[in-house]
């Protein structure tokens, strides 16, 4: 039986997928997860989940964020200065970084066609 392992580096962080393991039952799975994924990297906690219980949906199945131009929902669209408040500026920067990433992925996709 296959299990997916999610590791949290330190208290308060997000659990991030770090790999999978084989184990016959839950108890053995927690043991193997520790040995394989929890020993070398800093680890505060592991989530161990039967792979069958993980449902995946990917870009083949759906268009995340839709197919139409949704510029209106990005902070970067509005031509007013965000620097007056750090939290607004931070949010705009985070959004700009995601937009760049999305743009890069989209143009890669076009190249493949």
């Amino acid at each position: 039986m296959r299990w997916e392992v999610f590791r949290q580096d330190k208290r308060g962080d997000y659990h991030k997928h770090c790999g999978d393991i084989h184990a016959p039952d839950r108890e053995m799975a927690t043991l193997f997860a520790q040995i394989q994924h929890g020993r070398r990297m800093t680890t505060n906690s592991l989530w161990v989940v039967p792979s069958d219980e993980v449902t995946e949906i990917d870009t083949e199945d759906t268009a995340f964020g839709g197919r139409t131009d949704k510029a209106y929902r990005w902070a970067t669209t509005y031509n007013v200065d965000a620097s007056f408040a750090k939290e607004v500026e931070d949010s705009e920067k985070e959004q700009a970084a995601v937009e760049r990433e999305r743009g890069a992925t989209a143009s890669e996709g076009e190249g493949d066609d």
Partner: protein, 315 residues
């Protein structure tokens, strides 16, 4: 864990569902989160009519996206609250429906005209974002995690709100006048957003001691005024003479003369007894009732759950 241990360990993202938290902590965190989640929902309902009333297709799309975001924020926060094990999401939504759920003062007022929208979409959202950014440091990890996503999205809301204000402020004389009138009406409410001064706030001490929040109402209000008063002036808005605010240059501090604010109204609102607020609560309760059938049909088809396929097949 007892309260002393919690206070000793209190820090950003220190506690989560795996920790055995004392009842006092779980109740205080539930109160904060439920208030916050309710406010997201009630704020969305206040702005919802402007999807229809928007003067252009761009504004319509933006308001529709924003309302959708706010409902999503409510859902995230009810989940973070539920994880404390005090109340279920269903219970919290029922309380909101029957007028027992508390939410932000500004969302108890009617908003009817387009030129009022920047008061919520820029000033109130801006004030909320100030507070929310500090809650990324909350000791309840699910709360802090919800804030990561919410703050990511809020930048769009505040900038969109400012964009509407910019448009009105550089529009016709009539638009400028209506914007100023809306500001005169909303400004005292916005000043009350952060609640009464620290010495009158009842819940702060404990919430601060256990790390649920990291800043006082006064600190947040001062930071808000430092950033947003210059913005208001930039768009030609005159700050009303009353309530008086006095800027102390030596300590970069805005003093708000609290006696100029209507605290009877504020506390009536806090008890859900203000007439306009009751209209908002009842309006939302009817909307919720109207889609009861949709929730019931979802409950009836739980076939996506592990093991449910067998049960469905055996029916």
């Amino acid at each position: 864990m007892d309260i002393d241990a919690v206070k000793a360990r209190a820090g950003p993202r220190e506690f989560g569902p795996a920790d055995d938290m004392p009842e006092e902590y779980r109740k205080a965190a539930t109160r904060m989160l439920q208030f916050h989640a309710n406010s997201e929902i009630m704020g969305a309902y206040l702005e919802k009519p402007f999807i229809r009333k928007s003067p252009s297709i761009d504004r319509k799309l933006a308001f529709s996206a924003k309302v959708q975001d706010e409902i999503g924020h409510g859902q995230l926060l009810y989940r973070a609250a539920e994880a404390l094990g005090v109340k279920t999401r269903e219970e919290m939504l029922d309380e909101l429906g029957r007028g027992d759920g508390k939410f932000l003062n500004c969302f108890h007022y009617e908003m009817t005209d387009w030129w009022e929208t920047p008061m919520i979409a820029f000033f109130v959202d801006g004030a909320a974002m100030k507070r929310q950014a500090t809650l990324k440091q909350s000791s309840w990890t699910p709360y802090a995690h919800a804030m990561d996503k919410i703050c990511f999205e809020e930048g769009f809301h505040v900038k969109h709100g400012e964009d509407i204000m910019r448009e009105l402020a550089s529009g016709s004389r009539k638009e400028q006048r209506l914007l100023q009138e809306a500001f005169d009406t909303w400004w005292p409410r916005i000043l009350q957003f952060f609640g009464p001064t620290d010495d009158k706030s009842t819940h702060h001490d404990f919430a601060a001691d256990v790390g649920l929040k990291t800043m006082t109402n006064d600190e947040l209000r001062n930071q808000f005024l430092n950033a947003y008063v210059p913005k208001a002036r930039k768009y030609g808005l005159e700050i009303p003479d009353e309530p008086r605010i006095r800027y102390h240059e030596d300590r970069d501090h805005y003093e708000v003369v609290e006696d100029d604010l209507d605290w009877d109204e504020f506390f009536a609102i806090a008890k859900n007894e203000y007439p306009e607020g009751l209209d908002q609560i009842n309006g939302r309760a009817s909307a919720r009732e109207a889609v009861e059938w949709a929730r019931e049909s979802l409950d009836a088809s739980d076939s996506g759950m592990p093991g449910a396929a067998v049960a469905a097949g055996s029916d």
